[in-house]
């Protein structure tokens, strides 16, 4: 019972005890060692060493970038299937500690596998003449990507028990995330898409240091939302995370002067959190509407912060608008360009129109699939329209966002690039109608939240 220290998370202890004994891990470990021996022996006899080196990294890459993340997709699903997740939630472990523990245990196993190949790296240095520093850098990079992929795998694990479902969720998430850069490119916020990659080296490093941990935490938060009991507030933490990311991006933009670059990063990290927040349900549980961090006691400021940070779609509207305003403020966006205004309308319309429809039809389940399906429907519609046009050479990234004025513009002007002023008016009108609809529906919710705030205050 004392083989693991008390300070280690119980989930890490359990997962390590279980995981290290599992057939999957033992098989991966033995196969990796066998391939490593084979690689080193081949490198000794290979003059050029290129083939052996490629094989060496392919084996490590497959193990750490496919094998371990694949195990991650079962980590929470197996708890749900085995009826043990609820038992875990009835202990003193929060959903955050459960999900983070699952990820940490898998990452520790990856570290163990990475450490087990170090002797072969050293052998390659002595007998294969490779550059040790660059080999270690490559291994470190693979581990960093492994950390992110494993977090993504653990994050999607609670949602679908079938492999197809998990793939659908992963593709849907990617589709949602890729909407943002498409619009940013179109709107001129990001400028050319190559900016990100032609930036100075230190900027790339800063960008990775900023976005990688935030993305990792966001992936894990996605999983937490799938298992947390209704009474557990996992939303405020996510929103604070997004705000921290935006604030860090703003500071770096001010410091470096690369406003479009850091505006893109801020949008990329905050977009999934905004979308998830906008699709959250409002639960009538008073404890969720107590003072939010960093305000320990009920006060006017705490209640004001709650208007942005309380769980549920109602507070997600002001929160998302705040994020959008912040991103636009960081970016060198100019409102006097026809194209930029038009694409901004498209972005807002793509988000708020399906959400307004959700409220109108009062859909309570399958909200996320509805959102994805709506975007897919619009995409297909645009593709069909595009197929009828005589000039099909000009592709625009805004094709991914054809929800509002874009379709009209496409229909009237007959190409992808020309933006008509009435399209902007129509797009803006659509955004305003969508927002107004959401606000009308949220009035009743805000009244209920005020009552819940009062109850939460009484409970304090």
């Amino acid at each position: 019972m004392n083989d693991f220290a008390d300070w280690l998370s119980p989930i890490v202890v359990k997962e390590l005890r279980q995981g290290m004994r599992s057939r999957a891990f033992v098989s991966i470990f033995l196969l990796l060692q066998t391939f490593m021996i084979f690689c080193v022996l081949s490198a000794l006899g290979d003059e050029s060493r290129n083939g052996a080196s490629a094989f060496f990294w392919a084996v490590i890459g497959i193990t750490l970038l496919l094998g371990i993340p694949a195990r991650g997709t079962f980590s929470v699903a197996s708890e749900i299937k085995g009826n043990t997740m609820e038992l875990l939630l009835l202990t003193q472990l929060s959903a955050w500690r459960i999900i983070a523990g699952k990820w940490a245990a898998l990452f520790l196993q990856s570290l163990l596998l990475a450490c087990s190949v170090l002797p072969y790296v050293v052998l390659r240095y002595f007998y294969g003449g490779v550059d040790l520093a660059s080999e270690l850098m490559t291994l470190g990079s693979i581990l960093a990507i492994n950390a992110l992929l494993t977090a993504l795998a653990v994050g999607i694990s609670p949602y679908q028990r079938s492999a197809i479902g998990r793939i659908f969720i992963a593709l849907g998430s990617v589709a949602m995330i890729q909407i943002v850069p498409a619009v940013l490119v179109g709107a001129g916020i990001m400028g050319r898409s190559s900016t990100l990659f032609s930036s100075p080296g230190y900027l790339m490093l800063l960008a990775v240091a900023l976005i990688a941990p935030i993305l990792l935490l966001e992936f894990l938060e996605f999983g937490i939302a799938g298992v947390a009991p209704m009474g557990e507030n996992h939303s405020t933490r996510k929103r604070l995370l997004a705000l921290t990311g935006v604030a860090a991006a703003a500071a770096l933009a001010a410091f470096s002067g690369h406003r479009e670059f850091f505006a893109t990063l801020a949008a990329l990290q905050a977009a999934p959190i905004c979308l998830i927040a906008l699709m959250e349900k409002n639960h009538p549980i008073p404890s969720l509407y107590g003072p939010v961090w960093p305000f320990p006691r009920p006060s006017r400021i705490a209640r004001f912060a709650g208007k942005f940070l309380y769980p549920g779609w109602t507070s997600a509207i002001p929160f998302s608008l705040l994020i959008i305003v912040a991103v636009v403020a960081i970016s060198p966006f100019r409102f006097d360009t026809l194209q930029g205004n038009f694409y901004l309308c498209c972005l807002l319309g793509s988000v708020f129109l399906p959400l307004a429809l959700l409220r109108v039809i009062n859909l309570k389940k399958a909200v996320f699939p509805f959102f994805i399906a709506f975007q897919g429907f619009c995409f297909v519609l645009a593709a069909v329209l595009a197929g009828t046009l005589p000039d099909q050479t000009n592709f625009s990234p805004s094709m991914l966002l054809p929800t509002t004025g874009f379709l009209v513009s496409l229909w009237r002007s007959g190409d992808f690039r020309t933006v008509l002023p009435e399209s902007i008016v129509l797009g803006l009108l659509m955004v305003l109608i969508s927002l107004a609809t959401l606000l009308v529906f949220s009035v009743r919710e805000w009244r209920a939240i005020a009552e819940l705030e009062r109850k939460a205050g009484a409970m304090e």
């Binding site: 005890r17 009826n83 009835l90 009474g231 549980i285």
Partner: protein, 328 residues
Amino acid sequence: MNQPLVEVCDLCRTFGNIEAVNHLSFTIQRGQVVGFIGANGAGKTTTMRMMATLEMPTSGSIRIGGYDVVNHPNKVRRLIGWMPDAYGTYDNMTVVEYLDFYARAFGFKKADRVQRVEEVMDFANLRGLSDRAINKLSKGMAQRLCLGRTLLHDPDLLILDEPAAGLDPKARIEFKHLVRLLADEGKTLFISSHILSELGEMCDTLLFIDAGRVVHHGSSDSLLRERREDAPFSIVEVRLAGGEEARTALLNWAPLQPGTSIVEATREGARLRLEPDTPAAMAALLRKMVQDGIAVAEFRREDRKLEDAFVEILGRKEASTPPPLPSL
């Protein structure tokens, strides 16, 4: 009077158009062992899950130890031990590792953790199994392990959903023994089961529900008494010495006797319903039977069973419910 440990008030839970729990209200005092009985789909598990903070009530409230399960789920979780019908164990883990994991998850540290795991293993008679892999345990052993896990944080209230389902007779006897020990320690137990006779032996109070509503709340004795007052007849089992001929004679004879009717024909005789339920009436029937040449080998008044009482309560409820109006 002490405040009840559990107060369920006007509890409702709907799933779409289905009302799983329908205005359910009851209380449980500290130290009581309460049997929770109902047919499949009566709302037992839903109610228990709401008590265990795993399900949100649609309306109504549940307070455990004075805490509302919706507003203070974490405080309630410290007071309850939940054992679902699907036990929930892990492969690739030994008995002691399983309990050690949950002890860590409940916040036990160092020596306290080791001591608590050992206490629970002693209580649940798991000492000899400590290093055995969980997937090598019998169902009875796994059930004892899960009961042990439920007890780790020393909860005031144990909520056990169908704990005896699928156990062999030996494991059932062991389980009943453990329940008795827990009751002696002053724990409050809320147990659901289909095996009414066992619940009758184990529990102080029985709570019958049907279609999400309480149909009886009281001790098993009070239930049987109530039935006796409501139904002034007895069931008599008659076994005959002769063969098929004697059986036919009894079946022809019984309906002709005043206050007597046939409940069912058995392989060796019949079960008869006799009214009124008095010793004199029974003696008169037996005397008449012998006088008329029925070859009686055994004449026995059946004990009343909880199962019969339950079925009767449900029958009464259905009879008192007006039939739905025919649609035009």
